[in-house]
């Protein structure tokens, strides 16, 4: 794990690299700008994977919008929802990554149906990353490999950054926009301080909306007013800015 000063710059560099990688991906064959599809192909490329899939999920675990890097992976990604078990479910419910470098080493009792099914497709390792920000949970990014072995430290950092960048774009409701083209907020995705999350909770109560909606409203406000998201958050926490009074 690298340490030291200049970490801020390193984090920003990785985020820029990931955003550029997503933007450089080809558009999906079926048309549209397909952010989710391009995140999947970017993940596959940068993580030396055989394929990647994203499934958006509701709080109850129902599957919504989804995408995959290729048709075979789409089938594998869908398996988890057909069978109702797998690393994607676990990552979503435990709110943390689930990293399985060797499916052959997993106790069969953990995912009795999923493991043989996915192994039949030649998959040997799965890495699942929740798309989340605290209590805001939108789905999971799954990365598949046809060989066993752990992700390296660099690959892990890339994968988690991919999830963060995707999360930020989804919160902006720019599923159909480019990862970096939408301007302000993405630049500081993932590098937030406590005030941002506190402000989300405050705006949630002020507007009587969900925590995810509160975040979207703050991002929209920051964008419209040309302000940094962290500054907006600080004003909310200091009670200089009230979303229930000012109709932002």
């Amino acid at each position: 794990m690298p340490a030291g000063a200049g970490q801020g710059a390193a984090v920003t560099d990785r985020r820029d690299m990931i955003r550029n990688l997503i933007d450089d991906q080809p558009l999906p064959p079926g048309g549209g700008s397909g952010l989710l599809y391009r995140v999947c192909t970017a993940a596959t490329q940068t993580l030396a994977a055989s394929g990647s899939g994203i499934s958006m999920m509701t709080g109850e675990g129902a599957r919504g919008l989804y995408a995959a890097s290729d048709p075979l992976t789409e089938h594998i990604e869908e398996l988890q929802f057909v069978l109702g078990e797998g690393p994607c479910w676990e990552a979503f419910s435990l709110r943390r990554p689930v990293l399985v470098p060797d499916l052959g080493e997993v106790s069969p009792a953990r995912w009795p149906m999923y493991i043989p099914a996915v192994q039949d497709s030649g998959i040997r390792a799965v890495f699942s990353f929740p798309l989340q920000m605290g209590a805001i949970r939108l789905g999971v990014l799954d990365v598949f490999r046809k060989r066993t072995g752990s992700l390296t430290g660099e690959e892990l950092a890339d994968a988690i950054t991919l999830a963060e960048v995707t999360m930020a774009a989804l919160l902006d409701r720019h599923e159909e926009a480019s990862a970096s083209g939408s301007g302000d907020g993405l630049a500081d995705a993932g590098e937030h301080r406590a005030e941002l999350f506190q402000a989300q909770g405050m705006v949630m109560v002020q507007l009587g909306v969900s925590i995810g909606e509160a975040m979207a409203r703050m991002r929209a406000y920051a964008f419209v007013h040309g302000r940094r998201l962290d500054d907006v958050a600080r004003d909310v926490v200091a009670r200089r800015l009230h979303f229930d009074r000012e109709r932002p």
């Binding site: 794990m1 690298p2 340490a3 030291g4 000063a5 970490q7 801020g8 390193a10 984090v11 990785r14 709080g59 435990l94 709110r95 943390r96 990554p97 689930v98 990293l99 399985v100 470098p101 929740p130 989340q132 920000m133 605290g134 209590a135 752990s150 892990l156 950092a157 988690i160 950054t161 301080r193 406590a194 941002l196 999350f197 506190q198 402000a199 989300q200 909770g201 405050m202 705006v203 949630m204 109560v205 002020q206 009587g208 925590i211 926490v237």
Partner: protein
């Protein structure tokens, strides 16, 4: 500096080792450690920081969580005892903050302004890797950790690291990443809940944390679980406020 009975110390070590429970919660565990260390050292403030996937130190738990204290943890991504301890894997102890302005031009004045006199940081080590730091602030001039104190504190930090990562399960580095990422996300849930309660009750976020923690204790529920319910379920927030 520490005048602590063997019995008390033994009790703390047992408590730190006791992570083989079904409902182990990383954040509750880390809060417990900061409180025990604060109690043991009579320090006014103790915090724990964990490194994220970028190697940045993120504040995770504090014996108190005032905004000024949290700021002192955040600054240490640039400079300060935690960053030094994190980099070297060695404890940084007995630094007199009044004379540390040259070493840490931002951190030291901020800490002095918050009423602290001394600072210490202990690495959270797992084999060759440093996963975070334990940070202790003192407010009595001239008070120092002796050699034995430092050994005890580092042993506590080592035991806490093993407990934190549930060493029995750390057969692969995967579990380390899973646990740390889970803890960092739980931290965000707590901040979101602090904001919700602060707004609903018209109190400060610092006070909101105290209220949430007291509620979790009184109802024998985990802090993360309570925080999550506050954010996700409007009824819980209402019910929470009526108590």
């Amino acid at each position: 500096m520490m005048t602590v009975s063997v019995q008390k110390l033994a009790t703390i070590f047992v408590e730190i080792a006791d992570t083989l429970v079904d409902e182990f919660d990383v954040l509750d565990y880390m809060h417990m450690i900061t409180e025990r260390v604060a109690d043991l050292t009579e320090a006014p403030a103790v915090g724990m920081l964990l490194a994220d996937q970028h190697g940045r130190l993120e504040f995770v738990a504090g014996s108190n969580e005032s905004v000024t204290l949290v700021e002192l943890f955040v600054v240490q991504n640039e400079e300060g005892p935690c960053l030094e301890s994190f980099r070297t894997g060695e404890p940084v102890v007995n630094v007199d903050l009044d004379h540390a302005g040259g070493r840490w031009p931002r951190f030291a004045p901020l800490a002095v302004a918050s009423g602290f006199q001394s600072v210490h940081a202990f690495p959270l080590r797992l084999r060759q890797q440093v996963i975070g730091t334990l940070n202790v602030f003192g407010d009595v001039a001239g008070e120092r950790f002796g050699r034995d104190d430092v050994m005890i504190m580092q042993a506590l930090a080592d035991a806490a690291t093993i407990g934190l990562l549930q060493e029995r399960a750390v057969s692969h580095g995967e579990v380390l990443t899973e646990q740390l990422q889970g803890a960092l996300n739980s931290r965000i849930i707590i901040e979101q809940a602090k904001g919700a309660v602060a707004q609903a009750r018209g109190i400060s976020v610092d006070d909101a944390f105290t209220v949430i923690r007291a509620y979790a204790r009184n109802h024998n529920r985990r802090l993360t679980e309570v925080a999550h319910a506050i954010v996700i379920d409007p009824q819980t927030l209402r019910q929470f406020l009526s108590t």
